[in-house]
C-alpha cells in the first residue's frame, strides 16, 4: 500500500539559511500534519491542513510557514535556521478510505541538521 512520502530524507543547512521540506500524503487523504521530533523527545505538533486550508496550529515558530497545494502535497518552509531547529520532521496524513478513519499515518521523516 502507498505510504506518506517525504523529501528530502536528509538535509544539512547552515545557520540563517532556508530549508523546504516536502510531503506527499497517501492517495485520497485530504489532511496533512507536520510534527517536529527533537533528539530523545516525542513528536511535537507544528501545523495541519485540511482541504488546502490551515486547520490547526501548534508550536510552530514564526520563521516557519507551510501550505498545502491543489494536489494535496504540502511544503514546510523554514527560514533563518537556528541550531535548535535540528530535528526529525515528520509529515502525517489522514482521510477517508483508510483502515482506521481519521488516524494519522506517518512518513519516514526528514532529518534536518543545522550547522
Amino acid at each position: 500500500a502507498a505510504g506518506v512520502i517525504q523529501s528530502p530524507r536528509h538535509l544539512i543547512k547552515e545557520k540563517r539559511e532556508t530549508a523546504t521540506l516536502k510531503c506527499y500524503p497517501i492517495p485520497r487523504h485530504d489532511t496533512v500534519y507536520w510534527y517536529q521530533q527533537g533528539p530523545g523527545q516525542d513528536p511535537q505538533f507544528l501545523i495541519s491542513f485540511y482541504e488546502k486550508m490551515q486547520s490547526d496550529k501548534g508550536s510552530i515558530p514564526d520563521r516557519f510557514s507551510a501550505q498545502q497545494f491543489s494536489d494535496y502535497h504540502s511544503e514546510l518552509n523554514m527560514s533563518s535556521l537556528e541550531l535548535g531547529d535540528s530535528a526529525l520532521y515528520f509529515c502525517a496524513s489522514s482521510g477517508t478510505g483508510t483502515r482506521v478513519p481519521d488516524t494519522q499515518y506517518f512518513g519516514p521523516g526528514t532529518r534536518l541538521t543545522v550547522l
Binding site: 506518506v4 500534519y33 516525542d42 495541519s48 485540511y50 502525517a92 506517518f106 521523516g109 532529518r111
Partner: protein, 114 residues
C-alpha cells in the same frame, strides 16, 4: 507538566515475556487513544487505536483504556526481539473529523533480548 505522561524506560525484557506499557493523561477531553511503534530513525507506525474505555485486542497486542482514571495501557504478549522499538502513546481531542493534532507521550524504549 505535560498533558500526557509516559515512563521513558528503558525497559528490557527476555523474549516471550509479557510487556506492559502505560500512559496517564490530565485532559479529560481526550477521546481517541493510539499506540505507535517507532523504530530508530523511522516514522511512527500505528499499532492500536481505541476510542472507548475497555480492552481492544489485535494479535499479540491489547490496548486498554480507563477514562475514569485517565490511564491507558498497551500489553504485548509473547514479546519478540523484533518488538524492540520505542512505543509512543498518543491522544486526540476531536473525532469524526479529518483534523485534530496528536499529543504524544515521551515514548518508552523497549528492548526484547533473545
Amino acid at each position: 507538566q505535560k498533558e500526557v505522561e509516559q515512563d521513558p524506560g528503558p525497559l528490557s525484557v527476555p523474549e516471550g515475556a509479557i510487556v506492559s506499557l502505560n500512559c496517564t493523561y490530565s485532559n479529560s477531553a481526550f477521546q481517541y487513544f493510539m499506540w505507535y511503534r517507532q523504530y530508530s530513525r523511522k516514522g511512527p507506525e500505528l499499532l492500536m487505536y481505541t476510542y472507548s474505555s475497555g480492552n481492544k485486542e489485535d494479535g499479540r497486542f491489547t490496548a486498554q483504556v480507563d477514562k475514569s482514571s485517565k490511564y491507558i495501557s498497551l500489553f504485548i504478549r509473547d514479546s519478540q526481539p523484533s518488538d524492540s522499538a520505542t512505543y509512543l502513546c498518543a491522544m486526540k481531542l476531536t473525532g469524526g473529523t479529518s483534523y485534530g493534532k496528536l499529543t504524544f507521550g515521551q515514548g518508552t524504549i523497549l528492548t526484547v533480548h533473545p
